[in-house]
Amino acid sequence: MPGTRLGVTVRVRHPPMASLHDRPAFEEQRLRRLSKHEASSRHILVRNAAARLLTMRASVRASRVEFIALGIALLVGLMVAAPVISLAVTALQPAVDIWPHLLAYVLPQSLRDTALLLAGVGTLTLLIGAGTAWLVSSHDFPGRALLIWLLPLPLAVPTYLSAYVYVDLFEPLGLAHRTLTLLMPAAEAVHWLPHLRSLPGAVLLLALVLYPYVFLSARAVFQAQSADAIEAARTLGAGRFTILRRVILPMARPALAVGVALAALETLNDIGASEYLGVRTLTVSVFSTWLNRGSLAGAAQLSLVLLGFAALLITVERIGRRNANVEFSAENPRLRPRTKLAGLKGSLAFAACLLPALLGFIVPAAYLLGESLRRSLAGRIDPSLWRDALHTVTLASIATALALMLGLIVILAARWRPSRTATAAVSVAQLGYALPGLVLALGLLAPLLALDGAIATFAQSIGLASPGLLLMSSGGAVIAAYVIRFLAVPTGLLKAGFERIPRDYDDSARAAGASRLVTLAKIDLPLLKPALLGAAILVFVDCLKELPATLLLRPLNVDTLSTSIYQYASRGSFEEGALAALIIVAASIPPVIWLTRFSDLPE
């Protein structure tokens, strides 16, 4: 769940905190400006030398740990970049026999479908997310408090589940059809059913579960609307909707861009829903080019086109995030009071906000609950469910632990020894989520197999029996994919967490003689507990829901909850996977609630 990548913070401005590092330079400059007398300068120089001596002694002692951290951070950056590099290398292989065919028949259609899907999902999530956020943040109406918790819940439903559930509900002989048959003959009722297996259907179903990205980022901004700007507009004679259009929305635009970009990235990543609904996006084409047309090079080339889209979206998101931080003065935090809506207007507002939450979360959850109950009462639960759940939890736990550790090390490397390389490593580490899972898995195949081959050769050379493909057969490949894709969560959260820890703490500890590691263990980590916990929850649940990379890289005898659901759905009997799906949704609810609380301003 990349909600933490929303990264829209509302910062209260305090006077800049000076630290031991900053003080000499800062004061030096200030004094130089105020007085050019040599006596003062000598005084400053002596003090600076003392400060430098102190830091230098400490820094020599700590440098080994710092270098190890930097080394690991660089390796992590390399690990995240490896799939992209490998894809680029594969794409360079000539795919002569297939590329003309792809160009003529596959690429135009895929580009068109992908562009339309992204545009549709982007627009719809913007309307739903921003609209509900505005209603809920700027107005008071009965049921508002409930809606604040309910509206982000569709995040708990993976995109593929939304597709499977709604198709089941609305296809011929499904629940909707059977209900309609009570009113009219079956053959006629068929024509009333919406064609969900289409591009518009896909736009609707994806938007219903992805709008919370826009909702959460919009809400963060709308919540903190300063009263001043709006009152100024009102004194100039602007009506309510003019204020919305010309004051509030422009202020919120960067945050909205972030939300829409995230929703679009998730759309690009999705393969379950697109394939099921018959929309041939680039991701689906990558899949079918590799598997049905047997061309890895062609698939790699299409993947690079896909990555181009993703890169565009990340740029939008990054620019948006930089501009999206709203600052208002801590001395006089006047938040705009909410407009009261009563009676009919209040009920309409409630209904308008309830609808997306109903369709995006309540309906799928209720369906899954119903099907699971029906099957457990009839004793038709697949016994392999518990085995699949065990595999899922094992893989997710290991990946979470690794991601947390590596994320922490990467952030520490940048914090301990700020340098361009360290900052670059952090940025690269945070880019993993932009790689669609399928593309990531394809890109990982070559490096992982090369690594496995090297391990096997090494083992044989020292006389051990060949371990076969160690990483692939042990689930290491799946774990690697999870870590690369979800590393952005711990890095983002820990970065924000560390920013709240003043540098002075570190410096005082060092001045007292503590090593980097002791400072970390005794001071930083306890303060970071909420960020660590949040990151652990989010990564764990993201791993539970992951589908495409797991499908491709999983070892013998291993199925996860999501791959088993996918296989049921491919056979046309998705309901048999209802309990597995319910487990995924139920497990995803606590993180969404945590996320809501995390981004909510205290009232």
């Binding site: 002989l173 059809h177 053959a187 609904l277 018959g278 079918s288 070559a446 491709l552 013998l556 009997s573």
Partner: protein
């Protein structure tokens, strides 16, 4: 540090069983659904004591085996379609199965003369016809392009492997030009954009969206005898065994191959021979509703009720050779659009 050591041990302890252990093993990569093949493998383990490790996927296994290279743990590849068989052989990931048992049991038409693969069971691609709206009892594949069926046919994606094999057979019989014309005619007769699977096709026929649906023999039988929710779909339709104009229904093979770098080669051959044996063939017929490849094994009554199957005599290898052409034609006529 001890916490880390414990974590590392836990890592190894949990994942090690996922790897090949010490006892007799055979590693199977299969396209068949796990639920369908698990009874087979359990019976095999009971008979021989060899444990079966399975990975099942709906696509991509031969590419994975190829990528895994010399250290691949795959012993046996179990496929659902001749296209997959052909791709595996083309990818160079197989070795000849040298087995007298297979040579005696499997008819020469359904195994590779070079010994790289052998058919284990058969299924036909047939018509699910609406009981109330379709009166005829026989139909040809060629007739499906006839304008009289305009807006009345449902089918899954033209790129799906089962359709790919059917279209490849058409290309092998009539050549690319005639096949393209036929595909255009068929496309014009579709009631809706291709989507879903064979089961959805049967559902759409039962719901009245179309009169004819194209699907495999076992799906209908599964619906008839499986989940009671799905039975009405099967009951609203009947199965017609279509033929080509020269005679013969298009059949597809479920095949088995031996991986080139199989670490447990002997166990792999044992499994392959067992799959052609009477017990396995009976399971295929009864539990999976397929046509067994071994002569003399009785059919499941539901399958037998379709009528007598006369398989298309065109050699499988010739059909497989036209798969790429068929796939290109599907793209060219915009079949899935």
């Amino acid at each position: 540090m001890s916490r880390h050591r414990a974590a590392a041990l836990a890592f190894v302890a949990v994942l090690l069983p996922l790897q090949a252990g010490a006892a007799e093993q055979v590693n199977v990569y299969t396209y068949r659904e796990t639920k369908l093949v698990q009874p087979l493998f359990d019976a095999f383990t009971k008979d021989t004591g060899i444990a079966v490790n399975v990975i099942s996927a709906s696509s991509g296994l031969e590419q994975r085996i190829k990528a895994e290279g010399a250290n691949s743990p795959a012993d046996v590849l179990l496929t659902v379609d001749i296209g997959r068989i052909d791709e595996a052989v083309q990818a160079g990931i197989t070795q000849p199965i040298k087995s007298a048992v297979i040579d005696e049991t499997v008819p020469p038409r359904y195994r590779d003369p070079d010994g790289h693969w052998a058919g284990i069971s058969m299924r036909a691609r047939v018509i699910y016809a609406s009981k109330e709206r379709v009166k005829q009892n026989a139909i040809t594949y060629e007739e499906l392009a006839d304008p009289k069926w305009k807006g009345k046919i449902c089918i899954r994606s033209g790129q799906h492997i089962y359709n790919n094999a059917l279209f490849a057979a058409y290309v092998a019989k009539y050549g690319e030009e005639k096949a393209e014309a036929w595909l255009r005619g068929l496309k014009a007769n579709l009631a809706q954009k291709p989507s879903g699977g064979d089961r959805e096709t049967a559902r759409d026929v039962a719901a009245g969206k179309c009169d004819l649906g194209i699907g495999n023999t076992y799906y209908w039988a599964l619906m008839m005898n499986g989940d009671p929710d799905k039975k009405p779909w099967a009951e609203a339709t009947r199965v017609i065994l279509p033929t080509f104009e020269g005679g013969g229904t298009h059949v597809n093979l479920s095949g088995v191959l031996l991986a080139k770098n199989a670490p447990n080669k002997d166990n792999g051959v044992k499994l392959i021979e067992w799959l052609a044996g009477e017990k396995a063939q009976q399971i295929y017929a009864d539990a999976n509703y397929e046509y067994p490849i071994r002569p003399g094994v009785p059919l499941n009554p539901t399958i037998a009720s379709y009528g007598r199957l006369t398989a298309d005599p065109l050699p499988i290898a010739k059909i497989a050779a036209q798969r790429k052409a068929a796939s290109t034609l599907v793209d060219k006529v915009g079949f899935d659009n």
